[in-house]
Structures are given as C-alpha cells and as structure tokens.
C-alpha cells in the first residue's frame, strides 16, 4: 500500500524473521500493527513489509494462505474501511477517481472521514470547556480550539474543491421499442417540446440528451431511437449505444402496455432499471403504469428518478455549506461566543455526515470500488 508517514501514525513496529507454519524462516521483515480503529480499514491489522524480492513476497503469501488466509479482492481494503466506518463514501469516491486518473495512493490527507472525526473531537473538547471548564479546569483553551478549527477549515476547503471535481449531474436513459412514447415522456419531464414525437414509428433517429430538474434534482435525460426489438443488435448500433450509455446511471424501459421485454444490454451491463407500461390510458400493463395523456404514473417516475439515480448533484454545494459553517465557528470563537461556535461545528458535522453518507453516493461508490486494484 505504499508508505506515507501519516498512515504510520498509530502503528506499532517490529523487525524480525517471518516464519512459515512449519517454522521455516522465509524473510527478514518489518511488521506494522494497528489496533482496532486506527488502521486504514479500521480493523485490527498487521502489515508485513519484506526485504527480499517478489519471490520472497510470494513465499510469504503462500505461507499465509496455507495457514487459512486468502488473498484480498480488488478494492477489498477500501470496502472494509467503508464497512467499519473509517472511510466515508466520499473518501471512496475520491480514491476511485484518483485511481482512475492513475494517481495512485497518497495525497488523500484530507479525507472526509478524518475531517468528520476531528470535527467531532473539537466539538467535544469545546463542549467540555463549556460544561466543565470553570468548575473542573478541563477542555481546551480558546486558542487551541481556534487553531484546530482553522486547520479543519483548510481541510474542508480542500474537500470542497475535490467535491466540485466529482460532481456531475445524473444521467437517465429512456429506452424501449419504437413508438413506445419515449420522446413524449422526455418532453413531458423537460416541460417543453424539445424533440419531435409522432405516431409514425421510428421518429427519433438520434440520441438527445438534455438537462432537467426532477423533484429539485438536476439530472440529464437521454431520449433514444426506438429499438427494433428481438433482433440482434447491429455492430454500429452497439458501438453508438455503448458510447451514449457510458456513464449513465439508470434506464427507464418503456413499452406500450408493458408488452416488450427489456433489451439484453440493460441487464448485461447492470443498469438500474424501472419497467414502465406506457399509454395506459389505452391499455394497462405490468410495472409502473404511465400515461402522458392523463398524467398517471408521472409522479412515481419523477420520484424514482430523483431517488434511485445515484449521483452527486449538490455535492460541492453541500461542501460549501460545511465550509461556511466552519468559518462562522471560527469567527464566533474569536468573539468569545463558544455557544455559537459549538452550534456551527455541530451543524457542519451534520451536513458533512449527510453528504458522505448520502443515498445518492451508493452507486457511484460501487463504481469507484470497481476501479480500485488489489491492495487498496
């Protein structure tokens, strides 16, 4: 996992021989051990750094496997960190992004998780100062608190920048057979006649994407040409489709009366999907019943889009609020208003917690975990 000095804090070190189960000396190693709560994964952990070449490392790994261990899966350490709460979802996204950009480990000094924890500590210390300072002489001094806070404010500002880079609107594809009413739904959700909808099948020829507000959330909606259905996807069509659906988050599968089964690619590529029976003013069907004529089902579809789509709109906006609360806290402290400072920190924490654990993170996090390699 590479050595960065920050990560070593809290680790105990030992140097010695690594022996196999049968007692054979394999290599001279440095062992680092972390107690529960202080390692990358938050679990009790031992890391062995061997001196020898790859061969020695391989021998050590096989020795461990022989004793009942197993090799980690890609992203497993991060996933465990997430489960134990030592990494937040935002941190995983940042790691995933860095990994995708080939930046590797390190530089993640300002993890949202550590910011959250430190803010909690500072708040507790300040509360201690308020509650017991004068009677029991405990809690930190105003100066110490101010110094700690300014440092955390810096970290928050840094994270605000990261958040802005991560943010992009969610993308929902409207797909289905020709004449299913896709373009009509697209226009309805947009609130204007953006594309042509007509009774002749095959009206839409091109992929059209447009930004829309759905229940207060900004998303990108994509209208697609109707699929011929049943037949094998043509090579040219597939390439185009893959290009257009890359980075999409979910698919609305529309068909009249729910008559048509969703195309293979939706399932194969693991898109989240909602099955919609369209034109239900004419014929009802399974799944969500939608009629753009009567408005039936529209609310349900809007809710689904705004909830299920797992992206991060408002992420940097949220981080900006966190930063503002911390600025308020710093200024309250400097005018001797500890009560307000505590309140601001506590609000900053609530906001940050909401951001890092938000529902919309889930899917993006899964994707980010997929980008991580073994050892992360």
């Amino acid at each position: 996992m590479g050595l960065d000095p920050g990560r070593l804090s809290g680790a105990r070190r030992a140097v010695g021989l690594f022996r196999s189960g049968s007692g054979e000396a394999l290599d001279q190693v440095v062992a680092l051990s972390w107690k529960k709560g202080s390692s990358y994964t938050g679990e009790e952990m031992v890391e062995v750094i061997c001196h020898g070449m790859d061969q020695a490392a391989d021998r050590i790994v096989s020795a461990v496997v022989e004793e009942g261990g197993r090799a980690a899966l890609p992203g497993e350490f991060t996933r465990r960190g997430l489960l134990s709460g030592s990494l937040t979802r935002l941190d995983v996204l940042v790691l995933g992004r860095r990994s995708a950009e080939g930046q590797g480990q390190g530089a993640a000094g300002a993890t949202a998780g550590s910011l959250l924890r430190r803010l909690g500590e500072v708040e507790r210390e300040l509360e201690g100062r308020l509650e017991f300072g004068e009677q029991y002489g405990v809690g930190i001094s105003r100066e110490e608190a101010a110094a700690a806070l300014s440092e955390l404010l810096e970290r928050a500002t840094e994270l605000e920048g990261v958040a802005a880079a991560l943010e992009r609107p969610a993308r929902v594809v409207i797909a289905g057979p020709v004449n299913a009413g896709k373009s009509t739904l697209f226009n309805t959700l947009l609130g204007r006649e953006r594309v042509v909808a007509s009774q002749s099948p095959g009206t839409t020829r091109d992929w059209v994407s447009e930004s829309a507000e759905v229940e207060g959330v900004t998303v990108r909606l994509v209208d697609t040409p109707g699929e011929a259905g049943g037949e094998h996807e043509e090579e040219a069509g597939r390439v185009c489709r893959e290009e257009m659906t890359a980075g999409s988050d979910a698919v609305l599968w529309l068909s009249e009366g729910g008559a048509s089964e969703p195309s293979g690619w939706i399932i194969d590529e693991g898109f989240e999907m909602l099955r919609v029976s369209s034109k239900t003013d004419l014929l009802r069907g399974p799944g969500v019943n939608l009629s753009c004529r009567t408005g039936e089902g529209l609310d349900e579809i809007r809710t689904w889009i705004s909830r299920r789509v797992d992206l991060l709109p408002g992420l940097s906006e949220g981080m900006t609020e966190v930063r503002r609360h911390l600025e308020e806290a710093v200024s309250a402290l400097s005018s001797a208003r500890e009560d307000m400072a505590c309140e601001e920190i506590s609000e900053a924490r609530r906001k940050l917690r909401g951001i890092v654990n938000g529902q919309r993170m889930e899917k993006a996090v899964e994707a980010a975990l997929g980008m991580l390699c073994v050892g992360k």
Partner: protein
C-alpha cells in the same frame, strides 16, 4: 415518599394545585439535606433552578436566601450558556426548605415506607413501618439513594442511604417483588475537613461576585460573600490514590453499579486521565462560619488512611483534619423504561417517580423532576390528564424526555448540550418560557404572571419599533449582527434608553440566536417524527432488502425500538431510514 430535593418540590406542587399532600421521610431533621456539596446551580442547572422557581418551586428562593458565595460561570463564553451557581449554607438551606413545607401546609410524617400498597397494576398508597397503610389519589416515589443503599469506604461497607442514614431495604424488596425493572448505580462524595486545620495562605482565594437571584426578584437579604478557595492535586496525590487502588471498593469489584462519568471519583480520574498531572480542588464552606469545609473535586471512596495521605500532598490541606471522610453509595433505581415523560410509571396509573431513584444525579435534576411528578400527581388527584413539558421549551422537558426514552447505564446529569434548543433554554428567559405554562396548570405565582405580562408587552412594543429601518438597516437586523450589544443599539435607537433594560436585552438575545433556534426546532420535530415510528414489528432486520447490508447487520445487533433510535446508530444512514419506512409500508413521504 422522600424528604429530599425531589420529594419537597413534588409535595409543594401538589399543594399549589390545592391537593392535600403527605410527605413521608425517614428523618424529619434531615429534610432538604444536601448529601453532597452545598452548591445550587451551574451550567444548565442554573437555568433549571429558575424553571423550577417559575413552576412554583422553592429551591431557587431557598438558595437565594442562604447563599454564601455566587459565581456566574461561563460569563465569557456566550449568553446562552451562562451558569449561575451559588454556594449555600447547607443547614440554613435545609431549614428553609422544611419551613416552606410547613408554610404551604404539607403534612410531614416521620416513618419508613416499607412497601407500596395495592396490587400490581393498582398501587394506591404506601405501607409505613409504624403508621401502617396510607392510601391516596396518587403516590410519588422520591427516595433518592436510599433503595437498598450500601455505603463503601475502602474495605469497609455498611447499609445506608447516605452517611448516618438508613437503607430502604424493605421497600426495595417490595419493588423487586412487584417485578419492576431495577438497576444499581453508584455515586460518591468528598471528605469534609475542619476549617481551622487548613492553611488558606497556600491556596488561591476565589471571591464571590455579583448580584443575582434564582427566584426572579424575590431574593432575600444579601448575606455577604464568603470566599471559596482553590488548590490543586499533584502527581503525588495521584500516586497515593493509585497505590491504594487494591483497597478501593470501585476497583476491586465490590461496587457493581455504574458511576457518573462526569463527576468521577478522584481514583477514577487518576486511572482515566493518566496524562493530567493535576486536578483542581475547590475548598468550599458548608455554612456561614461553619467549621466544615467541603473539598469539591476530591470525591473518593478510598480507605481513610489513603484519604488522609492524599490530603497531605495537596497545598494547604497537608495538615487538614477530616471531619467526615469521603465515601461511595450504591443504590437501586427504577429503570427509566418503567416511566414516561410525565414521570408516570407506565403500568401503575397512580404511581409517579422523581429524583435520583429514577436515574438522575444532582439536586437540581431532582427538584425539576419533583415539580413535574408533583404536578401530575395533583392532576391525577383532580381527575385531569397528566401533562409533560416540551423539550424545546425547558430543561425539565429535555430531562424527562431523555430519561424515559432511552436506557441509561449511568446516573443522568444535565448538560446544556443535551438540549437541541440550548440557545433558547437560557436562565435569562426562564420566566418567559415557564410562567405561561405554569399559569395554565395553576402553578404560577401572581407576581410572576404580572411581571412576565408586563415584560412581554414591553418587548412587543419595542420590537414593533425595531421593525422600522434607520441608517439603512432594520432594527431587528441590526440586533442580529455579532457586534451589536445594548450600547450599539442605543447608538442608533436612543429612545430605547428609557425602556426596560431586560426587555431590550431579551430582544437582542432572541434575535442573535433566532437562526439557531429555528434550526433546533426543526431538528426536534424531525426527531419526534422518527421516534413515533415503531420498529417493534420487525422480526428480522437481515432480510430487509430496502436497506444496505451493513445497516442490516447493525440494526440486527442493536435492535432499536423506533426509527429515531435507529437513526442515532452509527452506520445507519438517511437512505436506510427511507428503506425502513418503505419496508414498513409507510411510504417514503418523510
């Protein structure tokens, strides 16, 4: 039952509702005794005392009339957390409280309650050792640290509710026999030493300050100020304590009850805060000219020789003669799950509970819950439905709600941070918060009602004026600026100089904190909504597909009873709450 801080206020509240009240206590001479240090108030607690006062209670006035030393804690840390704290003459205070009972017509009976009267689910009175059965319309259990009380000092242990007092063993067995859920907690107190044996020249003098009265405007004559003294323990004190640990009842496992985390014994501090070299000790008089001085901060249950050896290491106390050694008490309490936020025992329509016996610690906490229990006892007697106090409006409400809604594993002490709406729960506005409700329940004093009425009228008038704009800023806007105080406001609105100072201050503070208060109210509302969704019907969390796997695991382990409890668990996210709601078939509308 009980002549402690809870029992007294409960009896007085009943009298305010014009019900007859009988207070049964082990020893009349010890009514209102301060078992621990002789101080009333503090952060949050000071505001609480004022709330009790506005609900017709007597604690505030008794403290005002017997005070020796006063300090406003946190004066430089924000107005919402100012903490008025008075050192009082313990004996005079107890006499005042006994006097209040007599004046208000509470009948006092010196006897030991040995059992509740009536069948399980139908308790309607008490059984006394000498007087036999006494029935009533409602019964309040306020027996403090006495239920099955055991005292500890070093390797010695004996039965008692506090030093020199009895242990309520029979009543404890009766409660257990009635299958109430009970727990054991412990708490401790500090040695008291002879004033003459202290070298005050080796300590820092801490003068009292300021005029203040808990009881709004009904303060007694100022008794002058006695100083308190400050000294510090050293590394040697710690070593003495650590050396004696093997003879400490806490550390060799004789006491099983959980102690308060926030008011720990010195030996606790020695173990837990190894990095802290010194701890502050306040030397406080037990009474005006009294020979006994209380050593605040040195709570201990180590053996007497170790206590003496500890004192020998503390500047000024080297030669101090111990009058009453420190000791610990372990006692039985009613598990808070047994009662609700009206202090009414859930399975007993006529039984209420208040004070240390329901899991709190502290005189003020006891008094606050005492008023509430007494009020509801009176209401039950009059055939009215029991009431509760809003957590957004009072510390009493916060306390009653906290206690009854969660399972506590240590004595509950009030902190300002327990209140979401702490910016509003100020000592300064306690009468504005409490007198209106007190009036509607028949607890308010006429003079309080008139004063608050006048104040509110002044406030509305001034506020109307401040809605206007001068120099380009609305007056209310100006009040919200961090740099605005009364002087700055008068600079722009000079005519306010003639207005009541308190009214102007009140507006300034209300405006300054308004944003925080709005937010807190929203949070309380959210929390209430979450608390109202029961999860009791969920048999198995592991198969709820709407929530993520880690949350399933945590919920399965912790088994929260409500959505609110689930929300407070680390690792359970807002989306999981949505998922749970979906699962429960309530839709996702919240």
């Amino acid at each position: 039952m009980g002549g402690g801080h809870a029992g007294i206020e409960a009896a007085l509240a009943c009298r305010r509702l014009e019900c007859s009240a009988l207070l049964v206590t082990g020893r009349c001479a010890r009514i209102g005794e301060m078992s621990c240090n002789p101080a009333i108030g503090g952060i949050a607690k000071g505001a609480l005392v004022r709330e009790v006062d506005c609900l017709g209670g007597s604690m505030g006035e008794a403290a005002d009339r017997t005070r020796l030393h006063f300090r406003m804690l946190n004066r430089s840390k924000g107005r919402s957390v100012w903490g008025p704290r008075a050192q009082v003459d313990a004996e005079a205070y107890a006499r005042m409280q006994a006097g209040a009972l007599a004046r208000e017509g509470v009948t006092v009976l010196e006897d030991e309650v040995v059992a509740l009267h009536g069948p399980v689910g139908g308790v309607d009175g008490i059984v006394c050792a000498r007087a036999g059965a006494v029935t009533g319309a409602a019964v309040v259990l306020a027996t403090g640290t006495f239920l099955g009380g055991r005292l500890f000092r070093g390797e010695e242990t004996w039965a008692g509710g506090r030093f020199g007092d009895f242990s309520a063993m029979a009543l404890e067995s009766d409660l257990r026999a009635r299958r109430f859920h009970v727990k054991r907690f412990k708490t401790g107190t500090s040695p008291r030493v002879l004033r003459e044996s202290i070298r005050f020249d080796r300590m820092a003098r801490q003068p009292g300050e300021g005029e203040y009265s808990f009881s709004f405007g009904r303060a007694g004559p100022d008794r002058g100020s006695e100083p308190c003294w400050v000294t510090r323990t050293s590394r040697d004190t710690r070593r003495v304590a650590l050396d004696a640990l093997d003879r400490s009842p806490l550390f060799c496992g004789k006491i099983e009850g959980k102690g308060p985390r926030y008011c720990p014994s010195f030996e606790d501090k020695a173990v837990r805060f190894a990095e802290k070299e010194e701890h502050i000790v306040f030397v406080e008089p037990m009474g005006a000219g009294s020979q006994a001085m209380y050593l605040n901060g040195l709570s201990t249950s180590l053996p007497l020789d170790a206590q003496q050896a500890m004192l020998a290491t503390i500047p000024g106390l080297e030669e101090a003669r111990i009058l009453q050694p420190g000791y610990a008490v372990e006692y039985t309490l009613l598990d808070p799950e047994e009662f609700d936020a009206c202090m009414l025992v859930r399975k007993e329509p006529k039984l209420l509970v208040a004070g240390q016996v329901c899991g709190t610690s502290g005189y003020e906490e006891a008094a606050g819950l005492g008023v509430l229990a007494g009020l509801n006892a009176g209401r039950i007697a009059r055939g009215e439905h029991p009431v509760q106090l809003e957590r957004s409006e009072s510390y009493i409400g916060v306390m009653a709600d906290d206690l009854s809604s969660r399972s506590w594993c240590e004595p509950y002490r009030l902190f300002s941070s327990r209140a979401e709406n702490r910016m509003h729960l100020r000592e300064e506005n306690a009468d504005r918060r409490m007198v209106p409700v007190a009036m509607s329940w028949g607890l308010a004093r006429g003079e309080d009602v008139r004063r608050v009425d006048r104040l509110e009228r002044d406030i509305s008038r001034i506020r109307a004026l401040l809605e206007g704009t001068r120099k380009g800023v609305a007056g209310t806007q100006l009040c919200r600026r961090p740099s605005t105080g009364r002087a700055e406001l008068l600079g722009v609105w000079p005519e306010l100089a003639q207005e009541d100072v308190r009214a102007v201050e009140a507006i300034l503070l209300d405006e300054r904190y308004s944003g925080y208060i709005d937010r807190a109210l929203r949070r309380i509302d959210q929390r209430r909504q979450l608390e109202s969704v029961s999860l009791e019907s969920v048999a198995d969390f592991s198969c709820i597909e709407e929530i993520c796997i880690e949350a399933r695991e945590i919920l399965g382990r912790m088994r929260p009873r409500t959505l609110g409890e689930a929300a407070s668990l680390a690792g359970v996210r807002p989306s999981d709450l949505d998922g749970l709601l979906l699962h429960l078939g309530r839709g996702c509308s919240t």
